[in-house]
Symmetry: C2
Subunit: 205 residues, 2 copies
DNA sequence: ACTTCTATTGACACTACGCCAACAACGGCA
DNA sequence: TGCCGTTGTTGGCGTAGTGTCAATAGAAGT
């Protein structure tokens, strides 16, 4: 007699999440093209076609994974005390480090998939995430409503975001920096950008 | 009668470069998996199998492209005057901006392929390039032979490198920052890291 | 128990990749 | 000049991955 691996019929949402969970893991540890849909299907205990049924194509499934992993919890910039900019930014950075430390591997594989400027869709998702992060920082610095030179300001903060990610990786992966180091570095750097560089740059056409 | 497209027999090196040139273009404008070897072969006026002959596999060809695009010209940190750290760093940043501006599209597609932590090979190539860039900066800042806290220092500079890339992108692609802005931002930021953050962080275990 | 709905399956068509034996262009040698 | 060996180059074969779709079979409602 056959092993009783009869087909399970699940709610679409449930099946969807099961597949997504597997995909998240595999895409996290290998390249896009090094992961086959068959493999995802197999590990999810499902036939390959079903994945196309739920997500359309492999690429769409991948984008869904990236999207899901890049949600930055808004808690990072919420309920900040009404003190100095310095202190607010410091708290914000601290919360960020908390989030990253807690979701270590998930966050790592999230930024691991960074393929900037390669295809429109991935790029769009990443850019959106960056904008959200930028909002958080500006909010913490109480500079959300700067209008003059707004774009320059945002551009600088976006660039800073890259350093933030890179530094976090240095901490988590290589261990070359510890948490306290990061805190100092990230806090003072963004303050330097906002309080020194931005005013200096502000005039240039 | 057929067009006289008889087969050309070239020197291996020459054929190799022709294929690489096409591959560079295509991988530059589309994702790895969105570019087929057949397409590269076609545009290079060559049969698909020949590419396997020269590069082994598609992935190896890709890695070759990435490797070739990431060579940072050492001229950036060469022959710097023996003046203050500030001025030397300033010159270094300026030269960097020159390089980037001149090789605009090539550089953009180079960093476009950044896929950190995805597969070992790509990661390795990127890390090596980062180390070289770090050397340049430390050399400019006359801090090449710092021993105490060397790893922290390098880690910070590597992280700074990410900001440098991101800021350059902001300049070239979005135009949100101009060259003068970048110069101020990049120069003062790295000085801030080296002269303020590094000493502050130095003690922490 | 029967029907209905739809989640799930299996098979088909197509494309892409790696491999390999056969072919032919070019340089050497008589 | 004409043959000949080296090797750059080709075309085709086998396999694996992807997307589509009609057919199947759980599960819920009657």
């Amino acid at each position: 007699m056959q092993p009783p691996v009869q087909r399970r019929r699940l709610e679409p949402d449930e099946r969807r999440s099961e597949i997504l969970a597997v995909a998240r893991t595999l895409f996290g540890e290998r390249t896009y093209s090094a992961v086959s849909v068959s493999e995802i299907a197999q590990q999810a205990g499902v036939v390959r076609g079903l994945i196309n049924h739920y997500f359309g194509s492999k690429r769409e499934l991948y984008l869904e994974v990236v999207r899901q992993m890049l949600i930055v919890p808004p808690s990072v910039a919420e309920n900040l005390p009404r003190t100095t900019t310095e202190e607010r930014v410091s708290i914000c950075v601290d919360r960020w480090l908390d989030v990253v430390e807690r979701n270590r591997e998930m966050w790592l594989s999230a930024i691991g998939s960074e393929a900037i400027g390669q295809d429109r869709d991935t790029e769009k998702i990443l850019l959106e995430a960056d904008e959200v992060a930028t909002d958080h920082i500006l909010q913490a610095a109480m500079m959300s409503d700067v209008v003059e030179g707004r774009e320059k300001l945002r551009a600088m903060v976006r660039a800073y975001g890259s350093m933030l990610k890179a530094a976090s990786r240095e901490w988590l992966v290589r261990g070359a920096l510890n948490r306290a180091d990061l805190h100092v570095m990230l806090t003072t750097s963004v303050l330097h950008l906002l309080q020194t560089v931005f005013p200096a740059v502000h005039g240039n056409d």
